[in-house]
């Protein structure tokens, strides 16, 4: 409830926290938690029978849905959210279904989920009206359906704040790119190709997927706790009104190690220069090398590919004047392509999606 559906405090439909004389109004209490705990009693792993599975789950079926054992279900009445009461004597499954409906029907879900998805897809600090418009679609997709996520995502991406935020709110719009998105953006932009298969696996460029977590603070599908890699309300700077979840893992060491890994991928793991004796994937730079005939054409291309057209003019001028000092022989043109790519990918501009 805290993290995935309604949050700790009652919300208006536009996501703002409701307050009373005591401050923010809690959306549930310790008693609510205990009442829901009663609801969830009696469920066991599908093939465990009446075995109390406590110490070691390895020998049991963890993929099939769990099954109820009515003798272990707490059949007393339960008080759930918003005054809903489950009568005594219901089956484990009936209680579970009713409890999940009780959470799903909580008015917080629309603004809570809407805000979370906007933060992942568009901007860290959406305006309340934007959250309200998205929550309204969650509550009713126009055909009377609540919780139509396809309609919710469409509403998020087609909202005027998504398309015009960079113009209407230039000081606050956007989100910091998390490390995994920096990696995948580089790989997709430069059409990364696998090296030879080795030991049955293809390797990512640079660090292996296993060690990426150490270098980035972000292990794909391996968050360190239920609180994910970063918190939705992490302040942009200490004491800030603005939030930036992703900046929480841009620590001094992570910022340097991610930067250095991207550096290695660009300079040492491309299809023209490959200094590793391993089997890592390589980024493809032929298109960029071909464009070095015209610095303008190269930077137009990289601006769209890596900055969504937002490469600042002063940074572009600085890159261009550096590139123009390099020779135009074959080695010089490879150097021009690599330097242009790195001078964008290693810069703050590339770290902020606007």
């Amino acid at each position: 409830m805290q993290l995935f559906s309604i949050g700790l405090f009652e919300l208006d439909v536009d996501g703002r926290i409701k307050t009373d004389a005591n401050g923010p109004v809690p959306s549930y209490s310790q008693e609510t938690v205990e009442q829901f705990a009663k609801v969830f009693t009696g469920w066991n792993l599908a093939d465990a029978g009446e075995t109390w599975v406590s110490n070691d789950l390895t020998s049991f079926d963890k993929e099939s849905p769990m099954v109820p054992l009515e003798t272990y279900h707490d059949t007393t009445a339960k008080r759930l959210l918003n005054g809903v009461k489950l009568p005594a004597g219901q089956s484990a499954r009936a209680d579970l279904t009713a409890a999940l409906d009780n959470i799903f029907d909580h008015p917080n879900v629309g603004p809570f989920i809407g805000h979370a998805l906007i933060q992942r897809l568009v901007t860290s600090n959406p305006s309340p009206p934007y959250v309200g418009r998205v929550a309204a679609v969650f509550n009713d997709d126009g055909r009377g359906v609540r919780g139509d996520l396809q309609a919710v995502v469409r509403a998020i991406l087609t909202d005027t704040e998504a398309s015009n935020g960079h113009v209407d709110a230039p000081e606050t719009f956007g989100k910091v790119k998390e490390p995994v998105l920096r990696y995948t953006q580089l790989w997709r932009a430069l059409d990364v190709q696998p090296g030879p298969r080795s030991g049955g696996v293809y390797k990512t460029p640079g660090k292996t997927a296993v060690t990426i977590a150490d270098y980035t603070g972000q292990a794909v599908l391996g968050a360190p706790s239920v609180f994910n890699f970063y918190l939705p309300d992490n302040p942009l700077t200490p004491g800030d009104q603005l939030v930036s979840p992703e900046i929480q893992i841009l620590s001094e060491v992570n910022a340097a190690s991610v930067n250095n890994d991207l550096f290695d991928q660009i300079y040492h793991s491309n299809n023209r220069i490959f200094t590793s004796n391993g089997t890592e994937a390589r980024v493809q730079i032929d298109r960029e090398v071909a464009l070095t005939k015209s610095t303008d054409a190269l930077l137009d291309h990289l601006d769209v590919l890596l900055c969504a057209g937002a490469l600042p003019a002063a940074q572009r001028r600085a890159i261009a004047s550096h590139l123009d000092t390099l020779p135009l022989d074959e080695a010089g043109r490879v150097q021009r392509a690599l330097d242009a790519i790195y001078c964008i990918v290693g810069s703050p501009t590339h770290l902020v999606q606007k």
Binding site: K175, E252, A255, Q335, D339
Partner: protein, 466 residues
Amino acid sequence: MNSRNRPGGEVDRRHFLQVAGAGVASFTLTSMPFGLARSAAAQTGPRSLVCIFLAGGADSFNMYVPRDHTVAGQTHGVYRATRGDFAVAAKDLLPIGNGDFGLHPLLPRMAEASAAGNLAVVTNVGPLARPTTKADYRARRLLPQSLFAHNAQAKLWETASSVLTVDQGWGGSISDVVGDHGSLAPAFSVAGSNSFQSSLGSGYAQLSPSVTISRMRGYDASERDWIPSFGGVEATMQAGLEVAAESPNRLDQAVAEALVRSVVTTEQLEAATQPNAANDVGMDDVNGNDLADQLRVVARLIKNREELGMARQIFFVRLGGWDTHRIQAQVFPRLLPLLDNAVGSFQEALATLGVTDSVTTFTSSDFGRTLTINGDGTDHGWGGHAFVIGGAVKSGAYGTFPSYATTNNPDDIGDGSADFAGRLIPSTAVSQYGATFAKWMGLSSTQIASAFPDLSNFAQANLGFL
């Protein structure tokens, strides 16, 4: 996040560009400003404070246990009755002090620290706005917010506050006063971001036990030898930083500043943190112990603290896994040796470095757990016991030891048929606990009052264990 932004988020651009320029061009260890002369350290010598956060809510009631204690409600018999199957037998406890209390048998190195006079136990401590009774709890009078919830209570512990809207950590408040080290923050986390070190002023640097620090490629001259174009790349990266710093967009500004801090910090700390002979601190017996691996990074920075010009240091490390709702009987015995060996080995390293008296290490956690057991584990509580280790420590027990009685227990929040929930109301506040460390770190009474606003609600401003 770690920042030198001023309150309100207004970037001090002049300072920023100054740092940016220094980081790229010429900042080296030898050019670092030394702050010793202007700080209280001139009198005391350097001091380092280490916070070990036991994430998940450690069951400290089974770490420090009544053994031969005879006070009603605090005897081993009452403990055993309350704890049922989880009770540690009196004969197995490692006696400390006068033997009234003992440590869990899997904490032998902590017991050795106690025998050497280097261990204090602060009992039943937790977040409080003011002294709080059972009647106050019933009436919901000025209670800390979101009691019994993990991240909320962890934050209140780390901010010494009773409200969640306070972001300034008490470690951060100490840093803001003692930070006097030029561009290097006085605080380091080896366990990611945390509220303890969060600060409007000095910030903290995040290090990692698994990644060797190397300076930001492209932002300094170290690549010049083998990439002929690198002088131009450096200048271009510098231009990119300046463009972002001058951007109207606050995210651009914050990211530029984060990168500048990364450039400066990695350059300064590269030498002091390398796992090489010069930085050897021992602790080889605990390789792979998650907490010890973090403390080894801490020990290296302590070893180099004078060379780094640091009169005061504040560290944050974390050991997770303590949320033992289930299979506590299996999990708890795995966690205790991790803690005990890490602390023991760290203390040995400090002794070898000759800095035992100037490094103080303490534990904190989300909350104490329930006194009662749920059949397979223990649940979220409130007050719990904490440990303080170091040569400056005055060995002993501090605070009021609570009753463990399952009926008529004045220290319990009450409720249910027996008016007993197994959740103890703290008798000592985190504010008092934290203020005692702040005093040792050299803060004045005025500075302490400002760092711990609730402290004036309590009779004792210094618990006296340092």
